[in-house]
Symmetry: C2
Subunit: 230 residues, 2 copies
DNA sequence: CTATATTTGTTTAAATCTTACGCATTTAGA
DNA sequence: TCTAAATGCGTAAGATTTAAACAAATATAG
């Protein structure tokens, strides 16, 4: 058994946000790196006495000053032995969704610039981070269809049209507005609020909210969320 | 940054097999451990210059003498800092499916006993391997419904009734035999062979085979395999 | 040799779900 | 007051799923 194993363990965070029909991802750049240093996913080495999940939360907080409650493990990248040219490093990637309010807080820290990028304006990234981001996008798209995670990207109360646009934008598909509404409502996991939207034009729209308790209760009974598209 | 990180990286293999309406998993036991040493998943530390996938293939070969072409990454277990009491170890778990012919080869090596266990006769396992196996089972069940992986557990040619029983057994569900056949056939990814089964009783049955090329071609066109149950 | 049990394979009818729209409603603004 | 824009409701045709009936081919018991 290789007693002299010398492999470092890192974590990386893919944090997605959404605002104005745009998907965003949170990136950092070393403040004191070379001028043209690459942007990268937040992340860093795991400490000896720290769980992987605690590590990714800590690094994200340190590097961007953003806190996220729920992380999901995405994948562990370690097949390319030279993915980090300095040392053998394997990275456990986690992804998280935050609601739009977090997009406005100044994400920053002493050592790093942190910035939200529109997903189609992401520059070339450091290491294999472009690949990691690609895999995260795949997962996001897949999960959107079989778990009600779209709500995590929206404010607590939202319009049906916002939910609908979120699906169209992220999945890059057309949806029939009326069938989409009917489908979501049939699940009985979103409910009307008393409030109406501050309207721009057209008929004022009801604000809805996601009932997570109800969703969890239904899950126990064998309910399965699914949105399909042509 | 913790320059003195001291975390070991291991891989573990969950290898499933299937025979006679039974799902099996491959386990090992140290030959020179204490008498009552636990059974465990095959696995071990990753070498410095070796990809994670190569590592799991090597360990499996060394410990059980079984070779597997396709491994899928399952999950990385590293949140319990003391999952291995000797050292901080994180483990990247991989899972694989082998066809029934491999169940008969003597799986063994110098240093370990290797043995196939029926899935409901698995003993208490070392470390957190019971949890890992549980997660692998979940993944197997899920994938069975949305990818045609059942064929990987069967011989190259098989009976519809065998495929059907595999689904019933692993998912622990009842299926209508006739609707199941109709559904699978509608995908046009299995085809008849000229051969018939060596029969026991009843009407002789055609042997079928999975056409992987056709499946891949359909995938490109947007086809999506799915078997649902009540 | 015949009847029966057993397993395979085909077909159908009803129920359910999806898809593709039509159209009324409610507001802002010209 | 008319029009544009967006919301909200309903419905008919088509596709899919579900629940079976039934026919075919063989082994085996008597």
């Amino acid at each position: 058994m290789s007693e002299n194993q010398n492999i470092k363990v890192a974590v990386d965070a893919i944090v997605f946000g959404y605002q104005n029909n745009q998907l965003y991802v949170l990136l950092i750049q070393q403040k004191f790196g070379t001028k043209d240093s690459y942007w990268a996913l937040p992340g860093g080495l795991v400490q000896n006495d720290e769980s992987l999940e605690d590590a990714v939360k800590r690094e994200l907080k340190e590097e961007t000053n953003i806190s996220v409650n729920y992380f999901e493990q995405l994948f562990t990248f370690g097949d390319d032995v030279f993915r980090d040219p300095r040392n053998r490093v394997i990275s456990v990637a986690y992804f998280a969704l935050v609601d739009s309010s977090k997009l406005n807080v100044k994400a920053d820290s002493d050592a790093e610039n942190a910035q939200w990028f529109k997903i189609d304006e992401v520059p070339a990234l450091a290491f294999d981070h472009t690949i990691i981001l690609g895999k995260a996008m795949e997962r996001l798209k897949a999960k959107l269809t079989y778990e009600p995670i779209g709500f995590d990207l929206l404010p607590k109360v939202f319009l049906f049209s916002e939910l609908e646009n979120l699906y169209c934008t992220i999945l890059e598909k057309e949806i029939d507005r009326r069938n989409f509404r009917k489908k979501i409502l049939s699940f009985e996991i979103v409910e009307e609020t008393d409030h109406f939207s501050p309207l721009k034009s057209g008929r004022p729209a009801k604000l809805f909210k996601f009932n997570k308790q109800k969703y969890n209760a239904l899950l126990d009974k064998g309910f399965h969320f699914e949105i399909k598209f042509a």
